[in-house]
Amino acid sequence: MNNLIEFFKRAFHIIVLAVLLILSVVMLGKSLAFNDYRLSRAVQSVVGPIQKSGRSMIHRFHLGPENEALVQQNIQLLREQENMFIVKEDTILTEMSMPDSTNTKRVRLYDYTYAHVIFRTTDRAFNYMIVDKGSKDGITRDMAVLSPQGVAGVVTDVSPNFATVRPILHPESRISAVVTPANQNGTVIWEDNDPRVAYLEAIPQHSEINIGDSVFTNGFSNIFPKGLFIGTVKEVQVGNNASFLTIKINLATPYTDIYTVYLVENTFKAELDSLKANFKNE
């Protein structure tokens, strides 16, 4: 009996080793050979939440490239929107007189690209932003600048690698807009030095404007495509000037927290501008 105890004392660690190794092989064999997922499922239910929080922590480092890819995808989708095109009669198809085909073609009027804001001010009377793309990247004056949430501003100056943007937060900024559902056209201006609020003017007093109504671009300016979101109505007052309302709007673009912007180019801008110039001269 004593011998047996002595033997166990000496061989105890070998027994433990054997048991542990066999246990490992059993676990390995169960998941490999018998497709028994009960153990791994039980383990996963414990490990899963930890792994998830760990991954989301690590994932922050990948957000940059992922964002970039999503921006690229957004550009592709934005370029295919209906308000990017004008519909024209296609003369070739008309001459061939094919009865079934619609003899119209879509011509691209607006094109998108994107940039990142590297500097911006929001607390001054004359605010501006600088983006990291310039004439080398095809940026020109008077391109529209949009944030993911809505209209942001207009390009006013271009250097080879950078461009200056005049946001709505600027006394000279004027954006023709339409307020729905009243469907009245007006102009968005900025006065109060508050980066969250702008004014919509030239809305006649008889129109029915409610708080919360949406304000969109109306596409009259050749800078902004039609139907881009600007903001929502915050306050409606009967102004001093009896014929118009004073409307305060909440801007959709969070200027204090803006990084990626989309730039919209009007491909027929020069042509349209020359027409407008002729009109003025008359």
Binding site: V16, M27, V47
Partner: protein, 174 residues
């Protein structure tokens, strides 16, 4: 007592770093460091053998749980813990396997050659076992060998870096 707390803390930190960071590293598409082995390497050799095996098994199990390879690391770690004292004593130059108190497999107690060989032998054993168990076949053996080699070199590099960086900061205690 102080030593025990230091060991436990080291275990926790290295395991967390392993399962959250190291396991997701894939250098050149196949090299993954096994940093948690450092915690096993630095265990005092005078612990009861059965406890050492059990610690190895438990550590392997945790790593397995996060890598969805149940059994692989537990087996490799247990086997490594079994071989570990023999490697240490072979490196000490004594043939008789006796576990003495002075045997601390730490940079402070040993020279670089000792620490390097100790790390290299045990890491390659661990990687050999775990990669072979994970692949479970000798098909495409060239690639398997490459993975074993790459993992071993990367692991040894990372382990030695961590070992020496943190050693010099805290004067003898890691």
């Amino acid at each position: 007592m102080n030593n025990i707390i230091a060991n436990i803390l080291r275990f926790l930190i290295l395991l967390i770093v392993q399962v959250i960071v190291c396991q997701h590293i894939c250098l050149f598409g196949y090299m993954t460091p096994a940093l948690f082995l450092l915690a096993l390497f630095l265990l005092p050799l005078e612990l009861p053998l059965s406890l050492q095996y059990f610690i190895g098994f438990a550590t392997g199990f945790v790593v397995d749980a996060f890598a969805h390879t149940l059994g692989v690391s537990s087996f490799a770690c247990t086997l490594m813990m079994f071989v570990r004292p023999y490697v240490a004593h072979w490196l000490n130059g004594s043939n008789n396997v006796k576990f003495e108190n002075i045997d601390r497999p730490e940079p402070g107690a040993k020279d670089f050659r000792w620490v390097f060989l100790y790390t290299l032998i045990l890491t390659s054993l661990y990687q050999l076992t775990s990669v072979l168990l994970e692949t479970m076949s000798f098909r495409n053996f060239g690639h398997t060998l490459l993975v074993i080699l790459g993992n071993t070199l990367f692991s040894v590099f990372v382990i030695l870096c961590v070992e020496y960086i943190f050693h010099s900061h805290s004067k003898g205690e890691i």
